[in-house]
């Protein structure tokens, strides 16, 4: 395996509704900020890879417009995934592993506020047996939360604790959208929005974008004194039908974590992109995290959920803590599909 490291990152604010700029106009200043911070120029980039969703934009091939932020002349080597930018990073990492590139520019962007996001998410379900019923994302998550609560996997109190922790942590994150001091009792006094989920159990709807540079070891130190070397990178998918999955655990996260070597040593920082509080608990358990790990110092997805960028942003937030020396070993998580169907785990180390 080649040593490959995350060496640059920039992100937009997570915004509830960006009314005046389109997806690409949200992305462009983030790309400019990254270039300014790192001095990156296009001739240094061997491969460009992005994650976004045409379903959010409401038109086919909407992602092509994202290239306006990169600059596609002279011709570039480029790829796109209809997935979170974390998976675009995975593709770029494979490209570098195979020796086809030494440095890659990766980005994710989305503007879900143009539609009704919980309903748009129904379009990712089986198009014949499930999607025609239009089960919205919150209803489906609520079914999972009830299975967890009634089966004794977790409690409403534990879920509220995640919201309190993440939104409290997010007070020091200038890009976060939902932040502040909340209490478990206060949250549990709130009404349900989809029994047994309360508003605080759900991530916000966020427009936003993030951009990252990864490079082979030889090039990495041109950008960072202490690059965040990727030591394990895995993603695993579970079946499409809810009925054949155990929704009270995150088996795919567990397998990915095992393959990535997460449990081999202490984890200093973890950044999780679970969009619901009960899912965050399932991911924590699947990764084997305990109090010794600083979980979601940025606030995670519960404090800002720029869909299609949120997973990549978790990797960027975790990497930044290796760059500044506050962590030696960090893990980042991204998810895709309903009820944590597909999960990605990225393990990074400073040495």
């Amino acid at each position: 395996m080649r040593d490959v490291a995350v060496v640059g990152f920039a992100q937009s604010d997570s915004m509830r509704r960006e009314t005046d700029r389109n997806e690409v106009e949200i992305l462009i200043p983030v790309m400019q900020e990254l270039r300014k911070k790192t001095g990156l120029t296009n001739d240094q980039v061997d491969f460009v890879c992005s994650g976004s969703s045409d379903y959010l934009a409401g038109q086919s091939f909407a992602f092509i417009a994202g290239l306006d932020a990169v600059g596609a002349w002279p011709p570039i080597c480029e790829s796109h995934l209809e997935m979170d930018g974390a998976w675009a990073l995975y593709e770029a990492w494979v490209k570098i592993q195979m020796g086809y590139a030494d440095l890659a520019l990766v980005y994710g962007f989305g503007k879900p506020s143009m539609g009704d996001l919980p309903l748009t998410m129904a379009l990712q379900l089986d198009p014949y047996t499930t999607m025609p019923l239009w089960p919205d994302a919150i209803s489906i998550a609520a079914i999972q939360a009830r299975l967890c609560q009634e089966g004794g996997t977790l409690s409403a109190e534990e879920m509220a604790e995640r919201a309190v922790r993440d939104r409290g942590n997010a007070k020091s994150n200038p890009y976060a959208q939902v932040k502040g001091d909340f209490s478990v009792d206060g949250i549990l006094a709130d009404p349900y929005i989809a029994n047994p989920l309360r508003k605080h159990d759900c991530s916000p709807i966020s427009d936003g974008a993030s951009v990252m540079i990864i490079a082979s070891a030889e090039k990495a130190r041109e950008f960072q004194d202490r690059p965040a070397f990727i030591r394990g990178f895995e993603h695993i998918c579970e079946p499409m039908d809810f009925g054949v999955r155990d929704l009270t655990s995150s088996k795919s996260t567990e397998i990915a974590a095992e393959k990535a070597g997460v449990r081999a040593d202490k984890i200093d920082v973890a950044e999780l992109s679970a969009p619901f509080t009960h899912q965050e608990i399932l991911v924590e358990r699947a990764l084997g995290l305990d109090e010794s790990t600083n979980i979601n110092p940025s606030g995670g997805a519960l404090a800002g959920n720029p869909i299609m960028a949120v997973g990549l942003t978790r990797i960027g937030e975790a990497a930044a803590r290796i760059w500044d020396g506050s962590a030696d070993r960090a893990v980042a998580h991204a998810t895709s599909g309903p009820c944590l169907q597909q999960n990605l785990v990225c393990l990074m180390e400073g040495n």
Partner: protein
């Protein structure tokens, strides 16, 4: 002061026809006849809805078996304000329902009247549309045997 941005409605739709393949074709044709089919896996358990491939082993599956249109709610969530696209125009539940004769649950709709009527473990039965079309929306579940 800048003027407010222009906005325009846009409808996303799946506007083309496609073949459902050997297993789902029979599943949906059966729905038209008010029957629900599952598929038997190698280990004898029955998946509903019927699937062409085993989700664990990827083996081809083709032994379709009829299951009952009655079953048990294994989990649910309440929809207090249905959206226009959703199957009912009054509050209802989405639920994981395990049909009698099936070993797995399926996601569907329960028209229970009120949230207080919903409980995990409750019995439900299909209420079929007056005219069926061979679609998953040909029925919804209602409480009862």
């Amino acid at each position: 002061m800048s003027e407010p941005s222009l906005t325009a409605p846009h409808q996303l739709a799946y506007t083309y026809k496609r073949s459902l393949g050997p297993v789902l074709s029979r599943f949906f044709t059966a729905l038209r006849d008010r029957k629900i089919l599952g598929v038997k896996r190698k280990d004898g358990t029955v998946l509903v809805p019927a699937r062409e491939y085993d989700p664990d082993t990827a083996e081809s599956l083709d032994e379709l078996v009829e299951v009952q249109d009655t079953g048990v709610v294994r989990s649910w969530s309440w929809v207090p304000k249905p959206r226009a696209q959703q199957p009912l125009d009054h509050p209802f539940a989405y639920a994981l329902v395990q049909l009698d004769g099936a070993d797995t649950t399926m996601l569907h709709v329960v028209d229970a009247g009120s949230e207080a009527q919903m409980a995990t473990g409750m019995r439900v039965k299909a209420r079929w549309a007056k005219e069926t079309s061979g679609a998953i929306t040909d029925f919804v579940f209602v409480p009862g045997e």
